[in-house]
């Protein structure tokens, strides 16, 4: 593997899978050469099927765990499917796009969708900025502070979302919170205003998701050959310039994965909003799609409507990911 050129060493999982697929071939060939018992035709036939055979377990698991639930989700979204249908009180009736019609006809859905997109975008940008900045910092400090930062980040990473949210909420509590006392804000309620509540949740989301970005990017930076950085430094490039023109392009595959992950996570934020704004804030001002889906659909057992929200979210995320990959590709980087 070490003989492969440098670029694919930092390649994405896609490249790794491709390598795994082609790997099984050599034993086949050696069997051919040594024994010569199998005929050429049979060898070619089994060669055509072999990759699929090796892929089958993974495909079946993926099919069972991903495709089937999505199929069910899509199916349910076309039916009137509430608790009465599940428990057999009434028959499930096909509604076509009825659930989608109701969803798109609800002005609150559009508000929530807009809020979700903006909130997720803010979270992704902040998480990436904080994560990358700290990753660069990690490469530039001594061992002890590095260890401390790593441990702090891992602690944040390992904290369950419910616990983290509750602690953050307590920190900003109007009556007992240390933040208000330190800033001298009296009994200012952070969760009352729409933006300040979103800001509070954003802080928690960034806090619990930057470690993933930091650790991944840090690992990526360590894999960049020292000579390249040294050469850039000798040419008189500033720190910012090195990041922009050397590190960032070399880390691009890692940044792509990290960004997509963050987009997906932050778009699907549930716990933080649910816990910190008490299920969507004053008059539902802090609802995001996931909490909205839970409240409108699952808490009141309208599974058909909930599935429709799920499908819409799935399509949006797929679209975002595809567009993003497409844009990167146009810039010339093969993924």
């Amino acid at each position: 593997m070490s003989s492969v050129n440098d670029r694919s060493a930092v390649k994405t999982p896609a490249a790794a899978t491709a390598a795994a697929v082609t790997a099984p071939r050599p034993p086949n060939r050696t069997a051919d050469a040594r024994g010569g018992r199998t005929t050429r035709g049979a060898a070619r036939g089994s060669g055509g099927w072999t990759p699929w055979l090796y892929l089958a377990p993974a495909l079946l698991v993926l099919g069972g765990l991903l495709v089937y639930p999505i199929y069910q989700l899509g199916l349910i979204s076309f039916f009137e499917y509430t608790q009465a249908q599940v428990s057999g009180g009434e028959p499930a009736t096909f509604e076509g796009f009825g659930n989608y019609g109701r969803l798109f006809g609800d002005p609150q859905f559009w508000q929530v969708l807009l809020a979700t997109v903006l909130f997720a975008a803010a979270c992704v940008v902040s998480t990436l900025a904080v994560g990358c900045a700290l990753a660069v910092l990690l490469t530039r400090v001594r061992a002890v502070p590095r260890l401390a930062l790593m441990l702090a980040a891992l602690g944040a990473w390992a904290t369950p979302a419910v616990t983290g949210s509750t602690v953050w909420l307590f920190l900003f509590d109007p009556d007992f919170g240390p933040v208000n006392r330190m800033l001298g804000l009296g009994d200012h309620a952070w969760t009352y205003g729409r933006l300040s509540a979103f800001f509070l949740v954003l802080l928690e989301v960034v806090w619990c998701s930057f470690p993933f970005v930091m650790v991944t990017v840090y690992a990526g930076i360590r894999a960049v050959p020292g000579e390249v950085l040294e050469a850039a430094a000798l040419d008189g490039a500033s720190q910012w310039r090195i990041w922009r023109s050397v590190l960032a392009p070399m880390l691009r595959p890692i940044l792509v994965v990290v960004t997509i992950q963050s987009v997906i996570w932050d778009f699907k934020v549930f716990t933080q909003i649910y816990v910190m704004t008490n299920g969507g804030g004053i008059a539902g001002q802090n609802l995001v799609l996931n909490v909205y889906a839970y409240q409108q659909a699952f808490a009141s057992s309208q599974y058909g409507l909930g599935s429709a929200v799920g499908i819409v979210m799935l399509l949006i995320l797929l679209a975002v990911t595809l567009v993003y990959l497409r844009l990167l590709r146009r810039q010339g980087e093969e993924l």
């Binding site: 377990p57 495909l59 039916f79 428990s87 057999g88 409240q295």
Partner: protein, 432 residues
């Protein structure tokens, strides 16, 4: 390893094929069997401090098993927080469902539509004790004129106030809703560290008495079709009265808008409020707080002096599941559990208010604390619409959203109540 993964995949694939083209539904039809022996499974709610309840129930069960040879009763106490999931699961899989179940009275219509509860109209009518059942309690087991269980106990809210604060400030107990508001402001003005009357934007059942007292209604209609009444002029007056209590002169919107019922009771128990709207079931929590011995309870005053604001009649019922294979036995056990004798004992053990008017009067004589609650109940109570849509309206927070919109100044009363009515009507429309 690979093999097991593959088998799992194959199983999933087989399941895919089996689920032809419609989502799964359970075959939860009513059971035709009526076995006279065997095990009866019972689900009751696990209360905070459940031991006294268990003792009473154990006595009932022992008695029942003695008179019904060959019948065994297996009682399980389920946590209140996760009851919704448990009950849904029971409806989906009759095999693991209980025969007899305690349930919250606002869930009745929803459970009936889900096809989970057995119609016991005939048995209830034949039951000698049933004639003393309080009409509102009876209404809470009734859907479309049929009865789906027996009322178990009722819960009702009244006004808690701090006797020491009232004495210190020379205040008298408010006799009207207007006096209530002005008294609350006086307390706040004199003691700025206290909320006058602690109110919550998400405290629906604390807010509704204001709407009802002003002649408003949640919804009107009978049988299948309901129409929201929350945007009527009377209801709007009530909404205005309640939401005007949020402000720096009583309960600052920034902290109070997000509060629910428990938050307000906690604030009162912690000595942070002059008055609060709490239930008979809040008694233990308040007794355990700082204000023990420094408070009293009166019925929440209505609009006119001397009147009582109609309270929401909360509480629980005992029902029989449709899927039971011991129909006769299960109905008999239901009657035992909800009988006058059991309810009287449960009142002594747990403080649950009986649903029989005569038993309740006796209880009030034994325990003076419940007098204001019994008076509130006798003055007439209100109940949520007996429609399966109520569960949906409740869980999608239609009413808290409406109150919070007004409190936070996002919408005025007219617009907020109009929007809430629209949402309620669409729920009534789709749930039928």
């Amino acid at each position: 390893m690979k093999l097991s993964v593959r088998t799992a995949g194959l199983a999933a694939f087989a399941a895919l094929l089996a689920t032809a083209c419609a989502p799964q539904t359970s075959t939860n039809s009513s059971s035709d069997e009526d076995e006279k022996t065997g095990t009866l499974r019972v689900w009751l709610f696990r209360e905070v401090g459940n031991a006294p309840k268990e003792k009473v129930v154990d006595r009932v069960v022992a008695d029942f098993e003695k008179t019904h040879q060959g019948a065994e009763v297996d009682v399980e106490y389920i946590p209140v927080d996760t009851r919704a999931q448990r009950v849904k699961a029971a409806f989906n899989d009759p095999g693991s469902a209980p025969d007899v179940m305690e349930y919250g009275n606002t869930d009745t219509a929803g459970y009936v539509r889900d096809g989970g509860l057995l119609d016991v109209t005939r048995e209830f009518g034949d039951w000698r004790e049933a004639k003393d059942t309080d009409p509102t309690a009876k209404q809470s087991v009734t859907v479309d004129g049929k009865l789906y269980g027996a009322p178990f106990y009722v819960g009702v809210r009244a006004l808690y106030y701090r006797t020491d604060v009232f004495e210190e400030l020379g205040l008298s107990v408010p006799r009207t809703m207007d006096e209530l508001a002005s008294t609350a402001r006086e307390i706040r003005a004199a003691r700025p560290e206290l909320y006058g009357l602690v109110v919550g934007g998400a405290y629906t059942y604390g807010a509704m008495p204001f709407v009802w007292a002003n002649g408003g209604e949640l919804a009107s209609g009978k049988g299948g079709s309901y129409a929201s009444g929350i945007d009527s002029p009377q209801a709007r007056k009530g909404i205005k009265a309640y939401t005007s209590l949020f402000g720096d002169d009583n309960c600052p919107a920034a902290t109070c808008a997000g509060m629910g019922g428990n938050d307000t009771v906690s604030a009162f128990a912690a000595g942070k409020a002059g008055m609060a709207i709490g239930g008979d079931f809040s008694h233990t929590a308040v007794e355990a707080g700082k204000v023990k011995g420094k408070y009293a309870v009166v019925p929440l005053p209505g609009v006119k002096a001397g009147s009582i604001a109609p309270a929401f009649a909360g509480g629980n019922n005992i029902g029989v599941l449709k899927s039971t294979s011991h129909r006769t036995l299960a109905v008999q056990l239901m009657k035992r559990l909800a009988s006058k004798k059991t309810q009287g004992e449960l009142f002594d053990a747990m403080g649950f208010l009986p649903t029989f008017t005569d038993v309740r009067q006796q209880a009030a004589r034994r325990e003076p604390f419940v007098k204001p609650f019994v008076r509130t109940l006798s003055a007439g109570t209100e109940f949520v619409p007996a429609s399966p849509a109520w569960a949906q309206i409740d869980s999608s927070l239609v009413l808290p959203t409406m109150f919070q919109e007004v409190i936070s100044g996002k919408k005025d009363v007219t617009k907020a109540s109009e929007d809430a009515a629209k949402k309620m009507n669409s729920a009534f429309g789709s749930a039928g």
